[in-house]
Assembly symmetry: C3
């Protein structure tokens, strides 16, 4: 990919006739679409009969697009195996957790672990890669589409066999597994790996180790499939490879992107949920650090299917979304989809052009995005996102733990997003990091909602602390082992030893009347909590409830830095205030400087250019307009005029780009 900003759309030329395609290309150019993503559901078009493969239709499309200045991201079509694969072959299909075998007609209906699926998937991908890998219009690959967005862990017989193999590779002997999972409980004990069940229907819950390991097994298998597909492509193409993922899918994104070349995500967050949108940007930027990410799919206005629809974006919001993405590290901002579906089950979904070839309600926004893209492209090319000084760990492994152990309908994504949102509100620039990310350059690390803290993670964080970092652990972090069992040495295992705190006990604080007080603020505490001894480490104490006078917030010096334990989540409006106070306190104490005094609803994305000049992209995202304090004089990148230090205003959905001298 040559360095430029992409403005793209998902396109399904296989569904339309030549005349429509001609019209589409003409309209794309008018709308400023410079990249199309194609092919992800087109297996039938490529291989209408088993073994009769012909990719020429897509070769022609890519060439035609390229002739018109539109580059292509080509997809492998594996989410939708054709009828010759599925018909009369229930053994190849996905089996859900109620034991229902999926039929043909939707997508993700096949078991991606079935050997014949793998064989045919490899075959079709090899043909595509061969035919398309060297086309000049091709700039990248997407493997499959939204892995595990409709399904999660398959329960078929193929998976059963692979599960046993996976367990054997992991535990070597079944005795190791029995010991690790504590299977003497409820006489679960297995005499061979073959006896270990998939988490089929049972009268009550399964062993937490079994549940979590089955999720991990499933996440690894889908990543392996992705790996193997990428490997095939690489034999024939040097263009970079990605997958369009998202947080709610049943995948481990960190593992998934490990063997891919760049990260991308699909998002249909509504305007109200822009915290989720921003968090995705801050996280995806870090899956392949130093490489721009893509927003591979987003709606021009609203998502919909036959049975649901989201609220349309307000006029102006699409542009604000796009500029925020580019500024936070996106190389591309792409719509799903170009032309409204005529058939299927997503006809009502927002698009650029309607099924009858005319502008949709979202079209004006697309034009605004394109205008903006052209204006900011040179700046985006000459700058890079500035690394934050504050990091938050995000983990899909933690997501799996919460799925097994939701405690009380806890919504992992919601908890994490709310926690994250405080940083945005406080104007703190932040990186959301995958679990294994390096911590160089950060001053503060937050580790909330990570039930299992691995030895490796802990050691890395401790190293970070010894070098002067501040590590805030919790809430609900560290209380589970890697086998999803409870520590038997201390509530938080070795972590207590390292930080020198004494966790007394854990229990749910909701409804107990317990209030936490720290740094002059006070708020009710809730959720599954760890209560600490009130000793020299205490900085936040509990009033009321069963743990009067004990600590919920501790601080331990270690080397040049400190470890902070946040044992409980302050809740409600007062809780938000207290939590922000705690965050602010540690961020301030750590001398974090990449931070802005910005009004709520407006964001600042700091970037760095040559000679370390800082450029700020300021975007109002709530349609109310806003302001930010400029710490110094700067240059407005569009007017090239000087802007003085102090209050700087942006209008509703307006974006401004300024560079400090």
């Amino acid at each position: 990919m040559t360095k430029k900003l992409y403005h793209g759309a998902a396109y399904y030329p296989e569904l339309w006739d030549e005349k429509v395609i001609e019209e589409d290309i003409k309209l794309m150019k008018e709308a400023g679409i410079n990249v199309a993503r194609i092919g992800e559901f087109a297996w039938h078009t490529m291989e209408p009969e088993e073994g009769k493969i012909d990719i020429s239709f897509f070769v022609n499309i890519i060439n035609k697009l390229y002739e018109n200045g539109i580059e292509t991201v080509m997809c492998t079509p594996t989410p939708t195996p054709p009828i010759w694969f599925t018909h009369n072959h229930p053994e190849r299909m996905y089996v859900n957790q109620n034991g229902e075998t999926m039929g043909h007609g939707s997508r993700q209906h096949a078991c991606t672990n079935h050997p014949y699926f793998r064989q045919k998937a490899n075959e079709i991908t090899e043909h595509i890669a061969k035919a398309i890998g060297h086309l000049p219009g091709l700039i990248g690959w997407q493997i499959d589409n939204e892995f595990k967005c409709h399904v999660s862990e398959c329960m078929c017989k193929t998976c059963q066999g692979l599960w046993h193999e996976w367990l054997e590779n992991r535990y070597e002997t079944v005795e190791n597994l029995n010991e690790a999972w504590g299977t003497k409980i409820w006489s679960e004990y297995y005499h061979s790996f073959e006896q270990v069940p998939q988490p089929h229907p049972a009268p009550f819950l399964h062993n937490s180790s079994l549940s979590t390991k089955y999720r991990q097994f499933s996440m690894e298998k889908i990543a392996e499939f992705s790996d193997s597909q990428a490997e095939i492509i690489r034999k024939y193409s040097s263009e970079p490879i990605t997958h369009n993922s998202n947080i709610p899918f049943a995948v481990d994104n960190e593992r998934l992107f490990e063997n891919l070349d760049f990260a991308s995500f699909d998002t249909y967050a509504t305007q109200e949920n822009k915290a989720s949108y921003l968090m995705n940007c801050d996280l995806w930027r870090n899956f392949k650090k130093g490489k721009d990410f893509w927003i591979m799919e987003t709606s021009t206005s609203y998502a919909a299917s036959l049975e649901s629809y989201a609220s349309p974006h307000a006029n102006g919001y699409l542009k604000a979304e796009a500029v925020a993405a580019y500024a936070l590290g996106a190389e591309a901002f792409c719509y799903w989809l170009w032309r409204q579906q005529r058939a299927g089950c997503e006809q009502p979904h927002g698009s650029v052009i309607s099924a009858w070839g005319e502008p949709t309600v979202g079209f004006q926004g697309v034009l605004e995005v394109e205008e903006m893209r052209k204006k900011i492209e040179p700046i985006m090319i000459s700058t890079r996102p500035l690394q934050a000084e504050v990091a938050l760990t995000y983990s899909d492994q933690a997501k799996a733990y919460f799925q097994t152990e939701p405690h009380q309908q806890m919504d992992f994504r919601g908890l994490v997003t709310n926690f994250y949102h405080h940083f945005v509100s406080l104007g703190i620039h932040r990186d959301v990091l995958p679990e294994s990310a390096h911590l160089e350059g950060y001053k503060v690390l937050f580790t909330p909602f990570l039930p299992h803290i691995s030895d490796e993670y802990r050691e890395r964080a401790v190293e970070f602390v010894k070098n002067g970092g501040t590590w805030i652990v919790g809430p609900i972090s560290g209380g589970r082992t890697g086998e999803h069992t409870i520590h038997t040495d201390a509530a938080l295992g070795k972590l207590e030893e390292v930080s020198g705190v004494k966790a007394l006990y854990t229990y749910p604080l909701d409804g107990t009347g317990s209030k936490g007080t720290a740094f002059g603020e006070s708020a009710p505490l809730g959720l599954w909590s760890t209560v600490f001894e009130n000793d020299e480490t205490t900085v936040g104490t509990i009033k009321g409830g069963n743990s009067e006078g004990k600590a919920f917030l501790t601080e331990s010096k270690l080397g040049n830095g400190k470890i902070v334990h946040l044992g409980s989540l302050p809740i409600g409006e007062e809780g938000d205030i207290l939590l922000k106070k705690i965050i602010d306190h540690y961020v301030t104490s750590a001398d974090v400087t990449v931070r802005t005094n910005v009004s709520n609803g407006t964001i600042v994305a700091p970037r760095v250019g040559e000679n370390s000049t800082q450029t700020w992209v300021i975007v109002n995202m709530d349609g109310q307009g806003g302001q930010v304090d400029l710490p110094a004089e700067a240059i407005d990148e569009f007017s090239r005029e000087s802007v003085s230090a102090g209050k700087f205003e942006v209008g509703p959905y307006e974006y401004r780009v300024i560079t400090f001298k």
Copy 2:
């Protein structure tokens, strides 16, 4: 049927001994019951062992009832095949959409498409028709009972085969089907009809065409079954045949009644939901235009089963319900059921007489109905319901579209009923018409919530318009093809060409802050909406939201009439006011005269006698009493006294009948 008003009850003599039957007949006469409906679950009594058929019990019952002045509607007993049919024959049973095969013990457990079911159903019906067809007490037939009230589309193997056959008959080649359904999407493409799945469990939604066609297939099959049963009966009996249907059942009522002789319905609407009750009357009157309909089942006070119950009617309401029905075109008003069930699963259901043979809480109401029936019978015989000038289209095909595409949990029946209710509130007499109804005599036609407007329908409506009619189309009408896909020429297909409007785009308006203004009223707009170009056709414009200044209401002259597009649904209390304003405006402009100024909660059912004299049946249905403006002097049909023009009052639940001179 000789012309008279029937007052009836469902009766299960096969469940009681002779002494109880004697007592029942005596009590029926006391209560004024002049017709009994029998036999619909009595297959076992008629054919206790496979092939051993004996109908004599029912012959005797019909004769005995007749001797006591009670006529009979005889049913075929096919909703409950006996144990010899079902035991050890899972292949004959209904399979639901989760793949569960139904067992014996409830009803509608058999697949009505299974060939052996058809054979045995034909056999038993032939025996019954032969034995009973000429009995003097017999006045009519009911086929089966509430088709598809508990079940919907069967997923068994028999249905799979018939489905393929049905598709082949419809599409001739599978390529036609692929093209019509757009099956290249998601590589759904089929190489033979045998590959087309039933809508079995899948990871996400099925193709809308598949879903809707499967519903249509199912609705046609059940109607064919009804046809074949009617054909057999007609070989032996000249009495008219009906079926007791209702809106929520998974049938196409228009198609179902096509080959039946008169229409009837069952209703258990509570008093609060009287709009639904009245709409049924206004619709069922039009399934077999010119023939009176029957209310075949309603409760004397409340519906109930083992696991639920409805609120009892207030004292007085039953009579109001009955007189409204007779006045709106019912020939019969019948209870379910005569004697409370002793066993089964509906023991708590309201009845006329308890299981221990005494009056129930509803009994007094039954006596009041009978008193009323006697009073109004001569008037009802000498008059007919007056055709309305305003028509609304109701379509069970539309219901199927909404089931496939509920957009956002949209409740088709609720939407239609609310829309309908405005006409009642405005005192506008109305006919609710099936899709294919003739439009002669109407001035205004409303077509709300009809996603697919067929060419035939459109042409008929356009003809109607050219002849001076006003056609109001929408909301949510016309945007889907007959294959449940999206038009590719224009949002509303050929309709736009005809009306000369320009639909810009469609999208959900809920929560966007969009307000519609027309005729001086303004209200929020909601639901899936079509937005029009603001041009010379505009009469209602949008303020706020994404479509500021565009139109939601247009008016196009055509021939002597006009086509009005209502692109969106005004919602909330303001929405009701705006919608009523729109209705009122077009009804008034069209010089609709069959309309009364009546207070809310009171209704006027206009009838016409010889020499075109108009008779009004005025009924207070909310127990609050009410009033209506009489446009001229009239005669009170009961007192035979003159009533002057102007305000005319009715007491709580009171009914009055007046005839204009």
Copy 3:
């Protein structure tokens, strides 16, 4: 069991190593635990391979505990058959009502009626009984664990065969069954017992008789299993046998305890739901009248699993709970569980000691319980719970009727508990009696929510009335036969004849505007109701609604006593007042003296010592403190000082014990 008060905990030594066990025993002694319950899930430990049985681990544990002053209740391990029983044997597994076959990994996964399960269960129990039956540390047995707490009626093939056998034993001929169940309805009729289905999925509800009988069949079978296990144990051990049951489980507790030696229950009622806790005490005391019951499991603070948690007890509540239990007839108060689970699915559940061996949040409460236990033990040993003068009937058969016929999501347990709670509020000492309990010594009997009143029960109650008792029947009592059908002689069958009342009809009163007035109070009436003729028996009349002027409360003299019919439930806040007024009226008229004037939230448990001295245990259970009127001077059992008559105060969660002279 020698007479003492037990303070115990469930213990799982098979899950921990020797060192932990040593530590546990040491800590148990410190905490005052004098009894451990062990073994109920340990089948694998006892029989790791099919047929290789070794109980020595538990022999050693029991001996070691005994050496440390801790006695043992030994369990049979049948809720969790090991993998050698389940693997590849779906035919041995529990099948739920959707037809899903349970897999290994949780508990209660086997069908307890499968012959091989019975064989292996008998075998393991015989080995245990032999090995452990004579150990000095053994003081009792628990069979299995919480029968049917996760499952209800099994639908497997084994159960199908047994069901047919059970029906044949009960009905002798299928014709009797057909007649009893009224199977001619819906052509359900069966020609042989083999044709009678289990209540498998059906399009609508099953026949009420079928549903209720299947529940009864299931409840009898599990009780038979319990019987057979007890029989085996008795061959080798003379220690008493129990089962840890509770109200929500799908068992008939009265039948279950029939062949056991003492009654026990598990309770996880939160503090808010203390009515449920107290009702359990008042009921379990009467399953084996004259023998103390056990609380076999309760949490030290809160219940939890991977997916839910309850609110922790406030500090002080545990002790209040425990003293209330001991005072109301408990011999033991035991925790689930001693040491927090390390693995499985209940790790978050409250315990005494954490998985890492330290005090939990509930630990302090345990110490308080132990301190209390020591103080009250001598008094509890020298006194017995005083029999109440007021009895309420509780029936699990009624629970089954409500499951079949919930009317309107009626929650049987909630209805009964709310009704019960009024007696606590009114300070009326009460016994909650199983259906067949003797009525000697009672003055008033309440029979609410008993749909079927058997001849035997009615005759016993009538005898009680003739001897001077007051019998209050209803609401929702007596309207169903033993076959779960409707009476055909009168609404309440023979009961009406006995009491000389005339029940007019039954129907749901909710939302009808009906108010009941009696004894000067008035309140809305609701639920499924029986309305009576207003005649000389009337004491409460209905205003408004359909039954204006009729009676809902009647009183009939019979012999020296009276029968009171309460036809409807007064609802809402006014309803509580009216219902309490009715209760108070009849309790007062019957000269009930075992009653206290105690403030809400505080309870009095009266006990009787030698020479009939009365001792009161007064406990504040709401943490607000309270007071009670002492009718006479008394002695404080702890201070041995005299306490004068009149107001007597207790502090928050405080308990006091006083004895009247």
